[in-house]
């Protein structure tokens, strides 16, 4: 008897009891359910919620693997700078992988373990099926936190994010804010010393502070915010050989993921494209301000403002946020027209916050959360606009 039968039996055994949702979830998580609909006509499609979630996870796996290597690489390269001379040769090594896996996998385990535990508890209390919504969130969370974040902080943040960000609103599909970003925002406001600065992005930098072998892990945005020339080239940044949150450094892999999401029609190309346009627009405005001579060298904002406008897409977490988090179908705009506005403002505001927020030179998290809040409003006006247009047409016809 196979695993599927066993799971099915287990499920039958607990049918109708308090723990039923938990065993149902175990079963449907691995297999298609045995039962199908018996009567009536139903729309039958294969891309249910679980399939959708799994597609996004597949798009995220390259970023996770790259993040594991990068965690090790950044640590060793910070100690021995010569490694950076030829990143391609020194990147995919067992040393990097071993150290990275040791640091990254606990983050993944905590994120999934704690998050799913809460989902199960709420499913049992509220007597509904366990929803698959956390599968993507659980994968996103370890990719968007600094490598050295203490595990208990992550635990607290995941509990907060899932309960306050999602369950209080009614669970998957009802949340206003992106749960992964809620978790990150919580960490950012609660424990800022672990979430920003130049010591958190490379493993070991924080412990070695003040010692003779201290290493620095300044990100590109961090350097620019202090008006210093970053030590990484734009190509390093494109391939992802730079310090940053675990899985968001490689723009190349994010582009691959974006292509996959667009091809499978899971992610909205409208949101991605308009967010890129928005970021470029804001970048161009800032470049224009610098070129006009309104901002002089030595000004606090000069470093980030004078950065060539399209570089903003490659550095920092902007690309990751646009592709994997702005496109969240629950918290984003639903209407096609709304998606253009929603995406545009995410890109636009991201770069704006990046330049003007001195404490934290990255804005995509706050920009997406802000636009999450406005998404229903945007949709409302798009729908109202449509109704008005048609009413006018109707009047013209009947008159």
């Amino acid at each position: 008897m196979g695993l599927k039968q066993n799971l099915h039996k287990l499920k039958e055994k607990y049918r109708g009891t308090k723990m039923a949702p938990a065993f149902n979830a175990l079963h449907t998580f691995l297999y298609m359910p045995n039962e199908t609909t018996h009567s009536g006509s139903h729309v039958r499609v294969v891309d249910d919620l679980k399939r959708t979630m799994n597609t996004v996870i597949m798009a995220l796996v390259p970023c996770l693997i790259f993040g594991i290597f990068n965690a090790g690489y950044q640590h060793y390269a910070a100690i021995d700078g010569t490694l950076r001379l030829d990143p391609f040769a020194n990147f995919f090594t067992w040393d990097n992988f071993a150290l990275g896996a040791l640091k990254v996998l606990p983050l993944v385990i905590i994120s999934y373990g704690v998050g799913l535990l809460i989902e199960f508890i709420f499913a049992i209390i509220n007597k509904h099926e366990v929803e698959e919504g956390y599968l993507v969130t659980g994968m996103l969370v370890p990719l968007i936190v600094p490598i050295d974040i203490p595990l208990w902080m992550l635990t607290v943040a995941v509990i907060f994010g899932v309960v306050i960000g999602k369950e209080v609103f009614g669970g998957t599909g009802m949340n206003i804010l992106n749960p992964a970003l809620t978790i990150r925002a919580f960490l950012f406001f609660a424990y800022p010393t672990w979430m920003s600065g130049d010591k958190v992005w490379v493993h070991g930098a924080k412990e070695m502070t003040g010692q003779p072998d201290a290493i620095s892990g300044e990100t590109i945005l961090g350097s620019l915010a202090q008006n210093q020339e970053p030590i990484y080239s734009i190509w390093d940044s494109f391939w992802g050989f730079i310090p940053g949150s675990v899985g968001e450094t490689s723009t190349f892999l994010i582009l691959l993921g974006a292509a996959f999401l667009i091809y499978t029609k899971i992610g909205s190309w409208r949101i991605m494209l308009s967010a890129v346009i928005g970021a470029l627009a804001m970048g161009l405005i800032f470049n224009g301000v610098v070129n006009a001579g309104w901002i002089q060298e030595g000004n606090t904002f000069y470093g980030l403002m004078s950065e060539t406008f399209w570089h903003h897409l490659v550095i920092g977490g902007l690309a990751f946020g646009i592709v994997y988090m702005a496109t969240d179908p629950v918290t984003g705009s639903q209407t096609n027209m709304g998606k253009w506005y929603y995406g545009f403002f995410i890109g636009f505001i991201s770069v704006l916050i990046r330049v003007f927020n001195p404490a934290y030179p990255e804005g995509v998290m706050l920009a997406i959360l802000l636009m999450n809040v406005f998404a229903p409003t945007i949709d409302h006006y798009v729908v109202q606009g449509n109704i008005k247009k048609r009413m006018k047409r109707l009047k013209a016809k009947t008159a």
């Binding site: 203490p150 902080m153 306050i164 209080v168 919580f186 406001f189 424990y191």
Partner: protein
Amino acid sequence: MGLLSKKDSKLILDPLADNNPITIQVLGICSALAITAQLKASIVMAISVLAVMGIGNVVISLMRNIIPSKIRIIVQLVVVASLVIVVDQVLKAFAYSLSKELSVFIGLIITNCIIMGRFEAFALANGPWRSFLDGIGNAAGYGLILVIVGFFRELLGSGTLLGYQVLGDPITKTGLYAIGYENNGFMLLSPMALIIVGLIIWVQRARNKDLIEE
């Protein structure tokens, strides 16, 4: 309570739970968000409001038959304002540092919707003794929430209670801090007060389903 009749004790006990001014009527939220970062400030605020409401309700109740109804709001404002000034002066005289900490919020008790609400809804129509009980009850319900929120915010945000370092010293790393615990800076920001109030509302309504609105 042997001292009070059942009807009277209801006046005090109701606002503590099932008719709480903050969690049920959702009044007085602004000060609940602003001053609850420290437990001490919450307690002082609670006592101040208690004094203002208790006395204010009695005064309004005594004057209820001679106040022309057209200008009753102005009369109520004058009464609250005078009482608040007294409280403010007392604090300045006996607890100067606390008064500085609470700064403008003591003055803003005047605008606390709970106070004007009780004047309007209760003191204008009831005798002094019952008005007094009602004032005390509502202020206590308000204070209770303030103290709960202040307790969690100070404990988790600063690791202290009433200024004592109950979780250890974060600088020399003793107590909980020795094993890597850190204060939650989010707790010190007002949004977290709103979330804690929200959690209290959640717990309260989960325990008593009658409170859930349609």
